[in-house]
């Protein structure tokens, strides 16, 4: 006797993770003011410890996990003292850019095409690295999009990082790698070095690179500056410097500015002494800035078996996207 097979038709979830468990969308369908997520699963431009190509997946998973642990309705935010409700349709996940491991130019153009499309539409590209080189193609596309959307507009640039990434070349990796991304960004037509700011630089840096930045009017806040000035003052000075005569801000978040004791899962660890709390406070400050685009890089899950690196990085995104994720409601 044959038993009839009954098929269940429950609504099924899409397999895999999206950032903040958000909806998927094509870049062409993003709307003005939305965060448009672009994955950049590439670490072929990192010169030492690989693994950041698994960063986008880890960030999507970690933000989804943290999202599920947060209230989905109206809530009280103890950090701000505000009552908030979740924002609707604030983010779309546009998937990953096409990565061509042996062709840095093809990878660059593929990433830039996605962030350009988002930027043209008035959406805010959020690019998930990947090693920090990928910040350059993400910003390149943003820069092109800004030029099409608002000709003549200029953007300021802030990079939170343990390293300057301002070398012109790096050995066999040439001009396009995780030590040159800020230099390449400085060459874009709608940004000027005098509107570029680095925060969290730690240890020893190349004297030539530092001298060039400061000669051209850029500003560098070391990890020691963060400790001595305090995060609020650093944010104030950084924004004042970066936003002079600029319309928008591009923020590049390299997680390795944080002390490696807290965050070991990244390719180029430093002992900056910068704590998660300090890093979050910096991002709280930049959350209110006129963000035109941003990226977060160097999350390397294989280098941290405890998985706390991706959780900390996810929290960074919660902080910097606070005003998008939630809406304050009147206190009762």
């Amino acid at each position: 006797m044959t038993t009839a097979i009954k098929t269940s038709h429950l609504p099924l979830n899409q397999p895999g993770f999206r950032l903040f468990d958000g909806p998927t969308s094509d870049v062409a369908d993003a709307t003005p003011g939305q965060i448009g997520v672009v994955g950049m699963p590439s670490d072929w431009t990192h010169s030492s410890r690989l693994g950041a190509r698994f960063g986008p997946e880890a960030l999507r998973k970690a933000t989804t996990l943290l999202q599920s642990m947060r209230p989905q309705g109206a809530s009280f935010n103890p950090d701000t003292g505000n009552r908030t409700v979740p924002a609707k349709n604030w983010l779309v996940d546009c998937g990953d850019a096409e990565i061509t491991a042996d062709d840095v130019d093809a990878t660059t153009q593929a990433i830039a095409a996605m962030t350009e499309e988002l930027s043209v539409s008035g959406a805010i590209p959020l690019a998930l690295g990947g090693d920090h080189y990928n910040s350059y193609p993400a910003c390149l596309g943003y820069s092109r999009g800004l030029a099409r959307r608002a000709p003549g507009a200029r953007f300021g640039y802030i990079q939170i990082d343990g390293h300057l990434d301002f070398s012109d070349r790096l050995g066999a990796w040439g001009k396009f790698n995780h030590a040159t991304n800020a230099r390449r960004i400085s060459e874009l037509p709608n940004v000027d070095v005098r509107n570029m700011v680095w925060i969290g630089i730690s240890g020893w840096v190349d004297g030539g690179d530092l001298a060039l930045i400061e000669k051209e009017g850029g500003r560098v806040f070391s990890a020691a500056d963060v400790h001595s000035l305090g995060t609020v003052e650093v944010v104030r000075q950084a924004l004042a410097h970066a936003m002079q005569d600029c319309d928008e801000l591009y923020l590049s978040i390299d997680i390795d500015a944080m002390d490696a004791g807290y965050l070991p899962g990244t390719g180029s660890v430093v002992h900056s002494g910068i704590t998660p709390r300090q890093y979050y406070e910096l991002l709280d400050g930049f959350a209110e800035a006129p963000l035109g685009g941003l990226d977060i890089d160097e999350v390397s899950p294989p280098l941290d078996p405890s998985e706390r690196t991706e959780i900390i990085a996810a929290e960074m995104l919660f902080r910097v996207l606070h005003r998008f994720r939630t809406r304050p409601v009147a206190e009762k």
Partner: protein
């Protein structure tokens, strides 16, 4: 081929501390810093893996091989906004390789011989350990030496202890560095050799989980760096790194411990070779004669 003109990348091939020159022990000259690896597995340690520490320390030190990298200009200490002069470092820092594996007696004997020979040459031995069981051998080789201990288990009340592992009943470490430095100056007898034991446990454990003897409430990087810079200004005969276990269970991919140690050690390397003290306010001693 001189390292400075060698093409990049150099991730493969001969591994030496900070890309220094390999050298035979009988070629060591006065006022040089001679690196010697001690890949010794302490079978009484709580975890296996300390013998891999010398390699881990050398690998992470490559990042700081500025003097051998033609693509960089000079390094700048971004926190202190101070140029670090690296000219001449290449001639002053050398890597002798590792003590050969063998019976414990043979390893002790080889270390004793090597330490004596480096010391007789008027150089400073930079010993890359794992296990601190070998430190007694170095003390024996440096007859009549004074010992400074950063971290680790205190073994002799006559030694100068910086952050000993146990704080009595106090759960946190409280060091008044200025007072401690003054105390060190009084303790130091410049007529005797000086031996520095630098154990990873000197650091607060949350900064690095790669220490077999974790220490809650240990020092931060700044404090240890300040001490190593000061010690480098004295005529240190040997400094021995211990306590790192780069393959602590589940932690093989986490390179934090070795980076922490080498970052701090740079202050010693530069001060010992006379390159590290550019600001007269940081001069604590003229003992080593190179500052």
């Amino acid at each position: 081929m001189p390292l400075r003109s060698a093409p990049l990348p150099r991730m493969a091939g001969h591994l030496s501390f900070m890309r220094s020159q390999p050298k035979a022990i009988h070629d060591v000259r006065p006022d040089q810093l001679a690196v010697l690896g001690l890949p010794f597995e302490d079978t009484s340690a709580p975890f296996a893996g300390q013998s891999l520490a010398p390699r881990a320390l050398r690998e992470t030190s490559v990042y700081f091989g500025w003097h051998a990298n033609p693509q960089f200009s000079h390094p700048v200490d971004i926190d202190a906004r101070q140029d670090i002069k690296t000219d001449g470092l290449h001639e002053r820092l050398c890597d002798l390789g590792d003590i050969s594996p063998g019976s414990e007696e043979a390893v002790h004997a080889a270390l004793m011989t090597a330490t004596c020979q480096i010391n007789r040459a008027g150089a400073c031995a930079l010993l890359l350990g794992g296990s601190d069981r070998l430190s007694m051998t170095v003390q024996d080789a440096l007859q009549g030496c004074q010992t400074v201990q950063l971290g680790g288990m205190p073994s002799d009340a006559r030694d100068f202890h910086i952050a000993p592992l146990h704080n009595g009943t106090d759960p946190t470490l409280k060091i008044d560095t200025a007072v401690h430095l003054a105390s060190f100056s009084r303790w130091r007898d410049s007529t005797r050799p000086l031996f520095v034991r630098f154990d990873l446990s000197v650091f607060e454990t949350s900064l690095s989980a790669l220490c077999d003897r974790p220490r809650l409430g240990g020092c931060n990087l700044d404090t240890v760096t300040q001490w190593l810079s000061t010690l480098g200004q004295h005529r240190v005969s040997a400094i021995m790194l211990t306590g790192l276990n780069p393959t602590r269970p589940g932690m093989g991919v986490v390179k934090v411990g070795q980076r922490l140690m080498v970052t701090a050690l740079l202050a010693f390397v530069y001060a010992r070779l006379g390159f590290g003290v550019m600001d007269s306010s940081t001069v604590a001693s003229m003992e080593n004669g190179l500052i």
